[in-house]
Symmetry: C2
Subunit: 428 residues, 2 copies
């Protein structure tokens, strides 16, 4: 069935990230995740991702491989004004056409630079050259235009590597183009790829796995994914076919039922955003006293725009003296139980709540390592505390594993989850 096969390849995609800094230079390709999500909403599945340096011959080779297996090839990077930037030349070489300077591309560059009070120099004018026959894709954010062309059954799309520019162009130019020219052009357009994501905290991966056993019926094409990290276990359900998108919503309910309040967020939502909304709804303010997390909890909370409405202050009390001075923790308590103890976590939560005169005090004390362990207190021992002002202070003990960063991440997640559960329970 060559016809069937051709249609099938049409809706498979490959991303190609171009730039030598992506090969060795401490920068990872994050653009491709965004592209995969947006293409998925059109029913186009990203099956391969390639990364290649600023070498024309290497780029040519990678594009040739991509065209053989994918009907949509999205390239990012290599469209800048310097000689390193050779995506234009590579595409022209692959399809055997020359580069031509295009008036519409030139006007875009000139107009954009004029807004910034500049005129294009010789190098920037190179950016107006695209392979003959290509469509110019406008860049609503930066100066480098992109382009798209259809060749041997594949759409070749070139976008800048700057995330904000790439994202705007995907939304405003690429999605409309692929919708009218690819998706709607076929007799039976593909169903959107539906992907549902559930973020859990507090259950080990094996237990999440056990709770979900038998969830997906045999022979259904829905894929269940589990991904563990210091921030918890992420569960995903992915449906690629039309009938399965009916089933997936039934399974969504089943996942929620099976995992209950171990799920703290779904989709692109986050723990700090969820906690923020709960605080905002209650009209209460929180203050945070941190030790081993070194400001991470406060930083996560204040990451959310508008968080000044419910975050009063955060104190990082690294030294014992800071705990005594700033939170009124008694020196005796620290001497008797140690700074890393349930008692000190409770005193810290109460201290910050009273001193800040807010509704809720949240605290963490622990040993993030690699130093600081004692015979009785290992690296990874962490206490979180919450004082909601009703005379009772909640505390919880954890024994985390992992390196310093992992322990800090787990500790921040543990503290925010304690707050989340307390806010939910209070409202019941």
């Amino acid at each position: 069935m060559p016809g069937h096969h051709r249609t099938y390849r049409s809706f498979l995609a490959e991303t190609i990230a171009i730039g030598s800094e992506l090969l060795v230079g401490g920068r990872s390709d994050s653009n491709s995740l965004f592209i995969a999500e947006l293409l998925g909403s059109l029913g186009i599945e990203v099956r391969f991702k390639s990364i290649v340096g600023d070498d024309r011959d290497d780029i040519v080779q990678v594009i040739r491989t991509a065209v053989r297996r994918a009907g949509v090839v999205v390239m990012t990077g290599g469209l800048g004004p310097t000689v390193d930037d050779c995506t234009r030349e590579a595409v022209a070489a692959v399809i055997g056409r020359r580069l031509t300077r295009r008036k519409d591309a030139l006007d875009q560059i000139t107009n954009r630079l004029a807004q910034w009070g500049r005129v294009p120099n010789k190098d920037q004018l190179r950016q107006a050259r695209v392979p003959a026959g290509a469509e110019v894709l406008p860049n609503p954010v930066g100066s480098a235009p992109g382009f798209a062309l259809y060749w041997k059954g594949a759409w070749l799309i070139a976008l800048p590597g700057v995330p904000t520019e790439m994202q705007a162009m995907m939304r405003e130019a690429v999605v409309p183009l692929l919708t009218t020219r690819l998706v709607r052009s076929v007799h039976r357009p593909p169903s959107p790829i539906v992907r549902l994501v559930f973020h859990t905290w507090g259950l080990p991966e094996a237990e999440v796995d056990a709770k979900l056993r038998g969830l997906v019926p045999p022979r259904s094409a829905i894929a269940l994914g589990l991904l563990a990290s210091p921030m918890g276990v992420v569960v995903s359900l992915t449906a690629k076919g039309g009938e399965d998108s009916q089933l997936i919503h039934a399974l969504q309910e089943d996942v929620r039922r099976r995992l209950g309040d171990w799920i703290f967020a779904e989709g692109n939502d986050s723990m700090e955003a969820v906690v923020g909304r709960l605080l905002l709804k209650d009209g209460v303010t929180v203050a945070v006293a941190e030790s081993c997390t070194g400001g991470l909890i406060t930083h996560r909370l204040t990451h959310i725009p508008g968080s000044s409405a419910y975050v009063d202050r955060g104190l990082v009390c690294y030294s014992n003296r800071a705990k005594i001075d700033l939170l009124g923790v008694s020196e005796d308590l620290i001497t008797t139980h140690g700074a890393v103890s349930r008692e000190v976590a409770a005193a810290m939560a109460r201290g910050i709540r009273q001193r800040a005169a807010v509704a809720i005090g949240l605290s963490v004390t622990g040993i993030a390592g690699p130093g600081g362990a004692t015979e009785t207190k290992p690296v990874g021992l962490v206490y979180v505390g919450l004082d909601g002002g009703e005379g009772e202070v909640l505390t919880k003990e954890f024994r985390f594993h992992g390196d310093r960063v992992a322990i800090q991440q787990r500790s921040s997640q543990a503290a925010l989850d304690l707050l989340r559960r307390w806010l939910i329970k209070k409202n019941q």
Copy 2:
């Protein structure tokens, strides 16, 4: 020159990251950067990176493409115990051999699990199967062994995707194997790829570029790279050939001369580590008062193991009341100049230094956005302050662009750089 060509391909490498979560699921491949750095030290250059899901046929296709263009192919992921994990099967299919259960692999799995007080189940026993003729690579951290085999002029190496396991196996098994069997086996082994990295802060990319103009002599094979981000501009010099590694060290001195103290760190060093060492050397302690950065500065400082020796406390004073209560900033000052002002930054730095009774107070106040701007104070307006206890307070004004996260990152970098420069100057 087929012989030449063959040797050339021998020292080119490709990484293949395997796992569906890398295609769409919010996880980027960070392993490949580590692998590229380590292979580079052997003179083996990573020229291509591929990412593919848990689909056997797709993996087969990607391995076939890699073998055609690279002499070293390092795969990560897909070695786990579940049916999703099909790297073993894919490699066996590519080379046309069957999988065999190997006693050395089985012993490793059994011994590792015994350490954890467990016995291998049926799924875990699958991990002892490797393609016939492959060498088993021990995993000193986890339970899944890796394997390596030489086929049609290429080394195929399969490692687990868990970063700590992959890193240990690269260091302890793959580097020794490639050193003896590939690098030392040729008449003229390749020179190590030398890559020097300089981290700058405070100069726009165009100015860094201007300062470095004419640095690299024409026709030398040394590549100069510039990479801008909210954390500054990273400059890199990469030499791939033997003669060039002489030249690169002369250029290193030249870069240092041209960029001077705009360079805050080199190599894998970081701003927070540099500042930490300066504080430690002076035996002084810092306390931080943050507003718009929401704890990021304190978090970065305390990220460094041993930082409790020089970080006393960090306060996130989001509300005006917190600034008044905790730092003794006068209400009048805030009313007159606004919370985001040079005067309040100075008062915050002085306040935190005095209240914490430490040598140095560091402060930030600004508008990270997207809300909070006024007619005279735009999003991105940020003041940093430093009080070193000699009656004088340093302050600096910035007008940053970018989104909330970028402004927070730039602000934290600006504050730490002010502290770095002040500590260096004091010691001169």
